[in-house]
Structures are given as C-alpha cells and as structure tokens.
C-alpha cells in the first residue's frame, strides 16, 4: 500500500540526480582542487545546478541546489553561502528555461555563465566589503574563475539532458 503512494519515476530521477550530485562534488573536490590554470581553480558546481534546473524545472533545481549547496559548504565553504545561493540559481534556471530560453546547449552555457558570475561575485563580496582586500585582484580572480569554469562545465549538460529527454518520452 505504501509502495503505491511512491512515484517510482520521481524516485528514480531523484536517485539519478543524487548520484550526479555526488559525482560533480567528487570532481570538484578531488580533481579540480589539484588543477590550477593561470593561478585559478575551476568552480563547476553552479553549472550542475543550472543543468538540473533547466531540465527538471525550478522546484527540482532549487531542491537540488539546496542539497548541493549544503554539501559544498560542508566540504569547502566556511560560510553558508552556497546553501543560500545554489537553490536560487537552480530555481531561476528553471524559470528561465520555462519562459525565456530553450534547453539547448548554448542556452545552458549562457545561463551557466550567469550562474558562475553570480557565484564569483558572492564569493568576492565579503573579501571586498568586510576585509578591504584589493578589488583588482579580486575581480581578476573572479573573471578567471568564470572563464576557466565555463568550458569545463560543458560535459555536465549531457547527463541532465539524457534524463530529461527520457522523462518526456
């Protein structure tokens, strides 16, 4: 009886996205923490949140963003920044893909770039405002982080597209 109440399709998708999230976090922490390009490391996680938001809608994007943000803050964030930021990114990715942009690859890259910019700005904000660090150095790092992350985030689009396309059939 309880079994009948469970939506198997949603459960299956939830599990797939949970595995996807863990793989992305593993990539971020184990691989991209070691790869330094022009003195900067890539930050891929916002793109994964964007991909889920675009293909599954704002609510799924926000829930995925919440869990991803929580785990990100536990692993490499000293503040609850990502827990607050990623649900917003996930939700608005869903809203954008529903009303304003299509779900194609370049649209994903465009929304991902916006998410990267927003993430970098939120990361530099406390250093700039509360600690008075050098603005030029902060913005240079933010720009490099966005530029380096964008091409590396491209492969994150395809698993979500595969799951999303399968669902629509």
């Amino acid at each position: 009886m309880l079994w009948d109440l469970i939506n198997m399709d949603k459960l299956r998708r939830g599990l797939i996205y949970a595995v996807y999230m863990l793989l992305v976090l593993l990539l971020q922490n184990a691989v991209f923490s070691r790869i330094v390009i022009f003195g900067t490391k890539a930050m891929l996680v916002p793109a994964a949140v964007v991909a889920v938001g675009m293909f599954e809608g704002g609510v799924w994007g926000a829930v995925f963003g919440l869990f991803t943000g929580l785990l990100c803050d536990k692993t490499f964030g000293a503040t609850p920044l990502f827990t607050a930021l990623f649900p917003v990114i996930g939700f608005f990715s869903g809203v954008l893909s529903r009303y304003f942009v299509n779900k194609r690859f370049f649209a994903y890259l465009f929304v991902s770039m916006a998410a990267f910019v927003l993430t970098a700005l939120c990361q530099l904000f406390p250093l700039l405002v509360f600690m008075g660090q050098d603005a030029a150095a902060l913005f240079k790092t933010a720009l490099l982080q966005v530029l380096i992350s964008l091409p590396l985030a491209a492969p994150l689009y395809f698993p979500c597209r595969a799951v999303g396309t399968h669902r629509r059939r």
Partner: protein
Amino acid sequence: MKDFLRKKGIRLGVIVLAAVIISVASARALNGAAGFLGNAVGVVRTPVHQAVAAAADWLEGIYGYLYTFDQLKAENESLKKQLAEARQQVRDAADALEENIRLRELLKFAEKHTDLTMVSSKIISWNSSNWSSTFTLSRGSDDGIALGNSVITEYGALVGQVTELGSTWATVSTVIDVDTNVGALVGDDGAAAMVVGNFALMQQGAVKLTYLAEGAQMFLGDAVLTSGMGGAFPQGLDIGTVTSIQSEAGGQIEYGIVTPSWDSSMLVQVYVVTDFDVVE
C-alpha cells in the same frame, strides 16, 4: 615357395653373408671411421632423423603446453601477484624512507623545542576554492587536536592554524590565507611586527608583513618568526623570509612580502602542536 627358396634363398644367404663379412672387414679396416656406404646412409638418415626429432619435439611441446597450460597460468598469476606485492613493498619502503627523513628532522626540531607536544597528520586534500587557502588533515579531535592549534612542518616552519574540527578530520587555514593575523619577530633584532593575510599575495603564495615597530627596519632576507605573544602560536616558529619590501599610502608606510618556508606542492605530512609553553 620351395622353388623360390631354393632358387633365391641360397643366393640371398650368400649375399647377406658376403655383406656381413664385408661390413665386419671394412669396420676393422677403417678402425671406427664410416665407410662409403655407412657414410651415405648417415648422410641420408641424419636430416630425416632431425626432421623426426623436430616433429617429435614439436608434438611434445604441444602436449607439454596443453598439459602444463593451467599450471603455467596459475604460476603466472602467482608471479604477477608477487610482483605487485614487491612493487607495493618498494613504494611502502619509499614512503617509509621519506617519513623517516621527516621524523628525523622533526626530532632535531623537537630536541630544540622540548615544550611542544605534537601530533603528526597527513594532508588529505587541498581546498578547491580560489578565495581561501585551506587543507584538510586526516586527524581530528579524537587524536587530541583542538581548534586554534598551530600546524608546522618537520623543520618547524609554521604552516597554519586549525580553523575547523571534526572527530577524525581538521581543516587548516594556512599562513597565507586572507584571515591570517600572527604576531611576528623580524630580523636579527627581533623587531615586533604583524603577519597579515592579503588576497593578492595569497594568489602568489605569500603574505604581508606590516605594523613594524616604530624605528625598526626590515631587510630583504630577514627571517620572520612567531612572537608567541597572545598565546595563539608557540614562540620561534619560522613563518618565512622577507622577499620584497614595498610601500603604500604614498610611500608613508613600508611593508614586507614574506614567502613561507614551505612549498604547498611538497607538503604531505604536517605536525599539529597540541600543547606548548605560553610566552607571558
């Protein structure tokens, strides 16, 4: 049959007897060397024998291969395993050797600083953020580590401070992190100053030396040590060396750029100072 034996038998017997006699006689005459006939037979026989022997060897090889294949396969697997174990032992030995060198250096340092109680720990991972400089250790509060503990290398160089703690892990903010504030002594005079984190310098793997005591001067190559004031860090830990002297506020204020004595790419194992004598 009788006619055949009668006609041919006697002749055949004579021929055989003659051949035997010739053979015996020639063998005696040649004293072991082959005669024409023997030689001819040998010439023809040898390659045939060789071919037969080769074929026999080949067949024997196939038989042996079929018969011993499983045995060889098992032996091969066993040897591969032994080789892998031997390689692992070599790697372990290399690791042990490196650890031994580190511990020897630590021993020299510990002999000089008998007040320090230390816990060794391996670095599990470096933070993937561009906005801070932190790494995670493989030991935590279960091993006696506490928040605020100093983290040093085997040479006594200050690496950072424990800023987050779990039961089996600890996060260390390095001395180049933007949040760093360490009291320091500079140069031979031991002039008081502060080592303060700076974002732009963190990207270059360095830290800022500022608030130098009035009238004191710093020089390139000056050693920068922890002052121990305030009780956060033990006294006399090596923070780094002054590698550049700059000025700010229109040349009014002079500050130094300190490059730490450790290289993040070479750090494998560090030592957490869990207890030390506080300087009053």
